[in-house]
Symmetry: C2
Subunit: 153 residues, 2 copies
């Protein structure tokens, strides 16, 4: 199994990458197909191989707020499977037909329990990624705040 390397697997050695590739399975996806849904129990981690995925969140009255588009081989989604409360944090929809790899949560958790270094590296990468997204979100809140400030000045 050819495993494209995204942020989550950075720093793993060849042996560790082989262990992960060994539990990854390939599926195809079609334009328009929903892969996972925000708030539902997270069962799999997904790795983009080809095609594109849009990540979205629902606001009021089913209006959708786009969060990001994944286009690079190795891009990850479904990371909610790694961490409490084990739910998908965003909805993922295919916007360009392609191929995904997926790893079942229990298989990944077993690898992280058996090889604590692998677990440590993956969790460090995950925390780093969440921090990047947290900073982006705070930046957006600041933008709204600045707009308000200007309106009331």
């Amino acid at each position: 199994m050819d495993l494209p390397i995204g942020y989550l697997f950075n720093g793993l050695n060849d042996d560790q990458l082989k262990k992960i590739a060994a539990v990854a399975k390939e599926i195809s996806m079609k334009n328009g197909q929903q892969i996972c849904r925000e708030g539902e129990e997270a069962k799999d981690l997904y790795i983009l191989k080809t095609g594109a995925i849009e990540l979205i969140t629902k606001v009021e009255n089913d209006v959708e707020l786009p969060i990001s588009v994944l286009r690079n081989p190795g891009d990850i989604f479904g990371s909610g499977v790694l961490i409490a409360p084990y739910t998908y944090n965003l909805t993922a929809r295919c916007t360009e037909t392609g191929t995904l790899l997926f790893i079942e949560g229990p298989a990944l958790q077993k690898l992280m329990m058996d090889d604590r270094e692998l677990g440590y590296i993956i969790m460090t990468n995950l925390a780093e990624q969440f921090l990047i997204r947290l900073k982006e979100s705070r930046q957006e809140i600041k933008m709204h705040f600045n707009t308000l400030l200007r309106a009331y000045r």
Copy 2:
């Protein structure tokens, strides 16, 4: 050293907690004192023992946006010391005279390298905490978005 247990140390066993307590140092803080500053190199992890800390971020023209207030023994700040790019993510200011514990970054990193299980647990707790804050931030963005939607409906 009596170590109050916040989210970051959840799940560590007594031996691991002792190792952490052994590298923690105590300092006092006074109302109004700035403990660390957003964007600067993160040197220490801080653990609240008594008193209170306000976490803030700067927006335009030095206007401050309050993020949260820490009041519970064991509350953590300065977690930027654990993760790239190793800078403080927020400014912390004492709002009630009290006592802090601090742990120097290199001492903590050594513990996490020597005991990978300890490192794995801390990083999992950190990722979990960042995810909680990320969801809160996204919730706030949705609120702004909904306000806009209503304004243009």
